[in-house]
Symmetry: C2
Subunit: 384 residues, 2 copies
């Protein structure tokens, strides 16, 4: 006779869910062994430098590279979403006065949600509108925060520039060179999605309760805030800055850091077993943007560090490593590197929320209990 009673599953705990498949997705794919990344079937090597961030947003959120007419429509929608909504605008000065960038972004995005006319609608059409608005407002949130904390203003957007160009304009206060715009645009494309990274997974766990898109991206930003996920690009820059003596001093500094038991940030990845394909592009951009800025030191130090870490630890640089020197050469303040990542990743987060809502099941794993058992309550007066 079959025993039809429920029996608890016998599953070994997988620390960190490494190699556990948590969801099916049609948005991006990684072949960790081959070092390949693709967005909706397009290899990142074909997309980087060939399509704009706006085209990538269309690809991730809507599944196809846009026609010219579709792109024009999307560009217009992104531009109309650029203004800071009232609640976020009102709270911004106080937030900027006392919050670091990622905690500020967490609050600002949550406040943006209150003003969204579709906030309570998880339907496909409303989600598509919110997804575009969220990508559209992100650069403004970061640039307005930067302006508020430095006491400056945010330059008016330049209608001849796209997301990348306007963001550089608004962060740095000056019209960027076309080469800088192209390089930054490519950075935004390269960071736009990356399967079940922790922040995207947090967004999906949130959305899977049928919570709304703003809640899901707030959860994503809260998760990206952690230094094991979002802070690595900033840590790379701070490590480079901490090395006195330029390129020649790098191998010794790497040995010292590793010898002390510390990690060198920007190397290794849970998924890739070879070079992160994004690092290939960012290495090239690190060189060209260093030349454009007239300061190749950060690129040269990065190359020396890459070689030293490979020699000592056999670890490949990941997406964060060369992004640091690229952003530095573009004039982006170091503590905005992670918010810049979030500006790009908003494209992926929103696409994943839409995918989760379109075919949803609550994400509710099990746990393995390792604590005490069978304790008896002792009355308060008798405890001691």
């Amino acid at each position: 006779m079959a025993d039809r009673r429920y029996t608890a599953p016998v599953t070994a705990p997988s620390r960190g869910l490494a190699d556990v498949v948590a969801a099916s997705t049609a948005i991006s794919d990684i072949d960790g062994a081959a070092g390949r990344l693709s967005y909706r079937g397009y290899d990142i090597h074909d997309l980087g430098g060939q399509v704009s961030f706006e085209e990538t947003v269309h690809l991730l959120q809507r599944g196809t590279l846009p026609t010219q007419a579709e792109l024009d429509g999307l560009v217009e929608q992104l531009a109309s979403a650029r203004a800071l909504p009232p609640l976020a605008a009102k709270a911004l000065p106080d937030i900027a006065a006392q919050a670091a960038p990622m905690e500020a972004l967490r609050s600002l995005l949550s406040l943006v949600g209150h003003d969204d006319p579709d906030k309570d609608d998880n339907g496909a059409a409303a989600n598509a509108r919110k997804a575009v608005r969220l990508v559209g407002v992100m650069p403004t949130l970061v640039a307005s925060y930067q302006a508020a904390r430095t006491g400056g203003g945010v330059p008016d957007p330049d209608p001849s520039l796209g997301v990348a160009g306007n963001f550089l304009l608004q962060i740095t206060g000056r019209t960027p060179e076309p080469e800088a715009v192209a390089a930054f645009d490519e950075c935004l494309v390269l960071h736009a999605d990356h399967t079940m990274n922790a922040s995207t997974f947090a967004a999906r766990v949130c959305a899977a309760t049928l919570s709304d898109m703003h809640s899901a991206v707030v959860a994503a930003v809260a998760t990206l805030k952690g230094p094991l996920h979002g802070g690595a690009n900033e840590a790379v820059m701070r490590t480079l800055e901490s090395i006195d003596g330029g390129v020649e001093a790098v191998p010794g500094a790497v040995s010292d850091i590793l010898g002390s038991g510390a990690k060198i940030m920007g190397f290794g990845h849970r998924v890739y077993r070879t070079e992160d394909p994004r690092a290939t592009h960012l290495r090239r951009l690190s060189e060209s943007m260093g030349q454009l800025a007239g300061e190749t030191k950060w690129y040269e130090m990065s190359i020396a560090m890459e070689q030293a870490v490979m020699a000592e630890k056999r670890l490949y640089p990941n997406v964060d490593f060369f992004a640091a020197s690229v952003y530095r050469s573009l004039g982006i303040p170091t503590d905005l590197f992670t918010p810049v990542f979030a500006v790009s990743r908003m494209a992926g987060w929103t696409a994943h929320v839409m995918e989760q809502h379109a075919d949803n099941r609550l994400i509710r794993p099990d746990s393995d209990y390792i604590g005490e058992r069978d304790r008896r309550v002792v009355p308060l007066a008798q405890r001691g």
Copy 2:
């Protein structure tokens, strides 16, 4: 010869991670077959009605039921954390004017984080302080929101009352009867933790990037906001209210709802295969609080609905089902049922964040790619 190349894991996707062990925990345990729930080894049947919410906070966050001296210390810490921090207080009127309760709580908690002196410290001592402050401020956040949107004030806390009594006082505006305080205190104990539920899991995914405790509980609130997780208690009340004709009309209404293909909220659970042990207590409280309020109709309708759903679907009521009529009888507005859940669950969320930080690994699952492959980029002008 062993092939030492990395090979991708072959793992069938588990939709919703059902039965997948995502973490080890010493905080709570569920035996779904036996219908048992325990907090740190104490059966919920022993805790409910025997220990206060404050004792439960101590148990979950610090691992032991407190001595009288430890309890006195915790009560004092909770009371000192009660005042609304400045940034949240300043933004509250605008938020209350246009945000529903759970989105408001998401923003308010994020703003509370900016004012926390330990916000950037994930160490055990700082985490313990933040965990207490978060539990302490939660009732104030909900009561202040309620006051702000109704134009009333928040009554001063009564030092003779604990968390449960003061919260009822501040939400309803009148001093609660001792029986109501005891019942609500028991509700807070019953809801305080529940292993890897979606919001707790979101908090751990967030904390596992070494993001901070406030970020993690913001992610948890964002996740609890979804109707598949937090909204069920409210949905139960609205279903009961939608039935004209009282107890006699319930079986027909249940048949109508189920016949239309809709679900009846408050029944069934992914983990329990028998009665949710919390429902046992909440059924009793539903009856006694109905009697205390002089309106037993909601209890009686709930019992009739429980019987009808069992007869038609063989589903047991879960924690949300009888909580609805209890909260109704206690005078809590229906759209604050989920925030009330959050007031209690903050004890568990914070305990899980501390546990995650104490022995951390990034939570980064895999995904299964089901989309298109090997697409080639067509230049923009040629697409159409």
